[in-house]
Point group: C2
Chain length 359, copies 2
């Protein structure tokens, strides 16, 4: 992977040069990981316009850094950003870009104490933009995370029955994913049953499933840094007419969103493809969130798909498509896949059936 | 708990008034939780000098907010900080403090677009300072988290044997804590065996325990928002002379640190009480981290205990005491308790034996 990370730093260097900066100070930890392979809770990276770089991390991670990036010059230092900024000043860097969406006002004031002669310039979300289009190695990790997620759903499905609690199913899904090779769950799992299904981010609790419940499960595996994200809604015992109607609507909307997710599509148009169906059915107000989001080293990352979002999709951009309809006091339905936007058509990574299962 | 949170906001209001501000915009989510009870991934709180407050959170958390803080005025809004700042400007607030250690440079620039006529002033870590001294309800939560941690250790101890992997024990500890009532693990558990014990933050992997290993386990339960933190080091099969020597040293240093943790003590002196013993034994360079840290709604919070830290302990401040000695290539020992600094003497919340157990 060493050459992969060096190539990414090279691309970032080009971006830095294009914008007329001498270097960029990368402080967002997930961006440092993307550019070096190092998952550290304290690290920063200076990438120069020529693509060369200097990593700083503290003693706890020094050994790992040396193993992962033997060719990358690395400083062992606790005050990582401060030290790199000081070194940049000493080495004659004049225009230093920094991640203004990560650096706090307090940290920025610290940096200015060592940045004499340097102009500190907000870089914007340049690294996040680079991260949007994944390479095939990254997509393979995501696919593995999604395969674990599918298998866990399949293995736990028979445990969903009257009397079992939301929390028990959440724990069962999470444990099964780890047993199947996940590092851990990609995020806190949601299991929302009956009326709780009307709460998009319901925290699984002690409510026991009852006959006639819809149960929405939103969960995923983390595999080697990459996050799977899947939601399925199943019915317990039997399905009421209104439940089937809402389910079919959400499923049709999800498919319309997936069909619209082609390279070059405006993100707001992809959202609209799904949303228009839900609005037309009179449920516009019951779908209060965006259609989906990018996934990768973060569970939520660029691009965001929503009616008020801008930007275009591209080949090899993994996203989720997750419309939902939430009816206060009654319940809800959400259906979500992780998929990759491809020139050849969307590649769905979560392969669990979207038929309405009655358990 | 409603009156508890109102009382905390009242104390914060006094602090705001004392400093001559009209209000403070609290954006650190853990601080919002402390002041309202609401655990949200998107919330902000405006606390005025008179202790009155206005909460903002998005639609996902509106129901929970209404349930937890029925008496607290709440806005349902996605751009929480921006909206509260705009309202502050409209309501004639002139001097608005904000959390400059949380607000990014990018976010600050956004806030200035709606803060005409307002002076935005860094507030420092005022809420974190208030959070240092816990009330007895908080200490009860911590004690429960620590009791779960103790019980999980006791239940898993017999599984530590030759051939078992670090990861298997980490997973067993985490699952047992959840089965015993933890919300989830308080942090990613560390299980470091044999030579891996020399890495303070080793990530548990596939290494199988061997006879003669020391195994260091650093883990804890999260209970209702409060974090337990405990480390124990055990020996597999038998104990070499050097291992026993290092163990006894770390144990003595830990006890010296605990004994020094009295109300009024300088944090650096508490660190020194433990560190001096380790330095005197010739292992100063093998103890490369601070003695401990505050624990509560965060796993690491104020006060930090280290040779270069300032500040004084007080009655009802929970901290950890966790000295370690790490010998590259050979292994390491760390012993850690969560305890509460008390006028009547330290209250140790993690009660697992610190005798060197041979399993």
């Amino acid at each position: 992977m060493g050459h992969t990370h060096a190539a990414r730093r090279g691309k970032l260097g080009v971006l830095v040069a294009d914008r007329g900066y001498d270097a960029v100070l990368v402080t967002r930890l997930v961006n440092v990981r993307y550019l070096t392979g190092l998952a550290s809770s304290n690290a920063a990276l200076l990438v120069r316009a020529d693509g060369t770089a200097l990593l700083a991390t503290d003693a706890r991670y020094a050994g790992t850094a040396a193993k992962i990036s033997p060719d990358l010059e690395t400083l062992v230092e606790r005050a990582v950003a401060l030290r790199l900024t000081g070194l940049a000043a000493e080495s004659g860097i004049g225009r230093l870009a920094y991640e203004a969406h990560d650096v706090t006002v307090e940290r920025h004031a610290e940096l200015t104490t060592v940045s004499e002669g340097i102009e500190l310039i907000p870089f914007g979300h340049g690294v996040e933009e680079l991260r949007k289009v994944k390479d095939e190695d990254e997509i393979a990790m995501l696919a593995r995370a999604c395969a674990i997620t599918d298998q866990a759903f399949d293995d736990v499905l028979s445990s969903i029955k009257v009397g079992v609690t939301e929390r028990e199913i959440a724990i069962a899904l999470e444990r099964r994913m780890v047993d199947l090779g996940a590092d851990k769950p990609a995020f806190d799992s949601i299991v929302a049953s009956g009326p709780n299904g009307a709460i998009p981010h319901h925290e699984p609790g002690g409510r026991q499933f009852e006959t006639g419940d819809l149960v929405t499960m939103d969960f995923g595996a983390l595999y080697d840094g990459y996050h799977a994200d899947m939601t399925r809604t199943v019915a317990v015992g039997h399905v009421a007419h209104w439940q089937k109607e809402v389910y079919d609507l959400v499923q049709a909307a999800q498919q319309a969103g997936i069909d619209a997710a082609v390279p070059g599509a405006e993100t707001k148009d992809v959202d609209a493809a799904a949303r228009d169906l839900i609005v037309a059915a009179g449920h516009g107000d019951d779908f209060p969130h965006g259609l989906g989001h990018g996934v990768g080293l973060e569970i939520h990352e660029a691009p965001l798909l929503g009616y008020d979002k801008t930007g275009r999709l591209a080949d090899r951009v993994p996203i989720t498509a997750e419309p939902g309809v939430y009816l206060a006091g009654r319940g809800g339905v959400r259906i979500e896949d992780t998929l990759v936007v491809r020139t050849a058509g969307p590649e769905i990574l979560t392969k669990t059936t979207k038929e309405l299962l009655v358990v």
